[in-house]
């Protein structure tokens, strides 16, 4: 099954829509709640990342009985040093974003922690594409 969602930069009010929809699907196809939780947390973090840093983005999800593959791509500033960005607590979020309770520097580490495979490709000044996979069994 293929699903696609648009995410707008700065639109924190709607962050979580894609993860909620994916959660509904996974609940209906009898996936272990613990696995569902990991997927939902990872995807929500990715949505928030777009809201906090990028101008616009797209979430594409493919679900098979074996695994869920997620691609989150955005048009945005890109990540100059991915290794640094993967460290817990490192954040480039603006004070405005932090004031809203986001930007604690846990986004990417949290995605890493909750997925079975993670790949990040980024071009400074263009955008970032994040791919992750969770096995469903």
């Amino acid at each position: 099954m293929q699903l696609e969602f648009k995410v707008m930069g700065g639109d924190f009010a709607n962050a979580g829509y894609a993860s909620s929809e994916i959660k509904k699907v996974l609940k209906q196809i009898n996936i272990d709640p613990k696995i569902i939780k990991k997927v939902v947390v990872a995807l929500y973090e990715a949505e928030v990342n777009i809201c906090a840093h990028a101008y616009a983005g797209k979430v594409s999800v493919e679900i098979t009985p074996e695994k869920i593959s997620v691609e989150v791509s955005d048009k945005g500033p890109g990540i100059p040093d991915i290794e640094l960005a993967m460290q817990e607590g490192f954040s480039t979020a603006s004070p405005a974003v932090r004031e809203m309770g986001f930007g604690a520097g846990m986004g990417l580490p949290n995605i890493k922690k909750n997925t079975d495979f993670l790949d990040i490709q980024s071009t400074v000044g263009k955008g970032t594409t994040l791919k992750f996979i969770n096995y469903l069994t």
């Binding site: 209906q28 196809i29 996936i31 069994t137």
Partner: protein, 466 residues
């Protein structure tokens, strides 16, 4: 898992039901369908919240109760009444008069449920301090919420605090106390005066315990008139031998919104009303809620005073209960009394734990993930054809639920009135067949003239009165 395992207190009276859509559209778990002009409840989805009962225009949703006469099968007839009962009567009627009236009606022992909250508030705080179970802790108080979590939020079952609610604690205590007094166990009948349907279901098919400690349930609206009659016909009803309940004043407010939250340390939230609960639990499940220690959640707006079997307006009842709690505080400061239940702490510690609550997801479309995925693909395909207006004319609450019912082979695409109209225009469906489909969903009567329908010219009785 078969539907027969779940006992429900809400039943549709097929004589009265005329197959409108009020209950179907308000049901928070989409558990209701209309077939042949009657509402049917999918037992595995129902959580006994009572929303359907509230909105039925002809009182066709009924709440079962035990025969009142059955109390006389026992020599010691104990009634456990909730504090919300005292909020039903005008302030001129005292708690003592209410207790006296209950005794007059045949009960030998009258005990306020919230005595159990004195014990429970301590036990829960200890449980949370020990960091048992998953955070945030969710109260086990409201049986409709426990059931909602089981069917719709199975990943949160381990967050439910494994303690029996005050009702069961009061029952466990009272039975033990009578046995200690030398009363034979078979002579003891413990009854609960319930303000809602969910508590009935909880007594008849408990979650997290093998059997309930309650022998029977009496509905609050049934007893209300009888109490009032006793008090009105005996204005000077003798209350001299009756003791003022000895529970703490905060426990009187336990069943009100914030009643639990006000008792605990840490970051606590109180949520009431079932749709609010669903919205919150969705977010909690997604980890979108900042860290919280404890969550009190009740299915009714304003918690138990909003239960469907209450007689008084919920806001008035809440105000009275708060005033009573305040007065009780003053009373206790000049008349210090011990809650006798607290002397049974050891017995309660041994008998008031709940087993882990088991999930019973209603959402799973097929246990086989492979089949489930292709069914879901099919649902999405069907949604391209259905209008998305959720009109309910197919006898299901939404286009989505129709699509799922079609995939599960309990409905057809032609059940949709829009699809049917189009098929008739394209001459792929005959007029007679179209009529038959409408009849199958709504029954024949809905197409006949009937001047006794609600709002029609000969509808001269108030449908809400029996």
């Amino acid at each position: 898992m078969s539907a027969e395992q779940f006992h429900h207190a809400l039943k549709v009276n097929l004589e009265k039901c005329y197959g409108c859509t009020h209950c179907m559209s308000v049901c928070p778990t989409e558990a209701i369908r209309v077939r042949e002009g009657k509402a049917i409840i999918y037992e595995h989805k129902c959580i006994d919240c009572g929303m359907c009962y509230r909105v039925c225009p002809v009182k066709a949703i009924e709440v079962e109760q035990d025969d009142f006469k059955s109390i006389f099968n026992y020599q010691r007839r104990v009634i456990l009444y909730p504090s919300v009962l005292t909020g039903q009567f005008s302030p001129e009627i005292s708690t003592l008069q209410i207790i006296a009236a209950l005794k007059h009606l045949g009960f030998t022992d009258v005990f306020e449920v919230e005595h159990g909250a004195d014990y429970l508030s301590q036990a829960m705080q200890e449980y949370m301090n020990k960091n048992s179970g998953n955070k945030p802790y969710i109260s086990s108080f409201c049986p409709a919420i426990v059931r909602l979590i089981q069917v719709k939020f199975p990943s949160l079952v381990d967050n439910i605090i494994q303690f029996k609610p005050p009702l069961d604690i009061a029952a466990v205590y009272y039975r033990k106390r009578l046995i200690d007094e030398g009363v034979a166990p078979e002579q003891i009948g413990i009854f609960y005066l319930t303000p809602c349907a969910a508590k009935i279901a909880a007594v008849k098919s408990p979650v997290g315990e093998d059997h309930s400690s309650i022998d029977g349930v009496i509905n609050l609206d049934f007893i209300y008139n009888r109490i009032l009659k006793v008090i009105k016909s005996n204005p000077g009803i003798d209350t001299s031998g009756i003791q003022v309940p000895t529970l703490r004043h905060q426990s009187i407010r336990w069943a009100l919104t914030n009643g639990e939250v006000d008792r605990f340390e840490g970051r606590c939230l109180a949520i009431d009303e079932v749709h609010n609960a669903i919205e919150f639990l969705e977010k909690l499940e997604n980890d979108e809620i900042p860290p919280v220690d404890f969550i009190e959640i009740r299915a009714c707006d304003e918690s138990c005073p909003g239960g469907i079997l209450n007689v008084e307006n919920r806001f008035i009842a809440v105000d009275r209960i708060k005033k009573r709690a305040k007065a009780h505080k003053d009373y206790l400061s000049s008349n210090p009394t011990e809650n006798p239940l607290m002397q049974y702490k050891t017995h309660l510690d041994e008998n008031c734990n709940l087993k882990p609550v088991q999930p019973r997801s209603m959402l799973i479309i097929d246990k086989d993930t492979n089949k489930a995925l292709s069914k879901l693909e099919r649902v999405r395909e069907l949604m391209c054809y259905l209008p998305g207006v959720d009109c309910g004319m197919c006898g299901t609450p939404s286009c989505r639920s129709l699509a799922e019912d079609i995939v599960q082979k309990v409905a057809k695409l032609s059940d949709c009135v829009f699809i049917r109209t189009k098929m008739q225009k394209e001459k792929t469906l005959g007029n007679n067949l179209s009529y038959e489909i409408t009849k199958k969903i709504w029954g024949e009567k809905c197409m006949d003239k009937d001047c006794h329908r609600p709002g029609a010219k000969h509808n001269n009785h108030n449908a809400k009165e029996d």
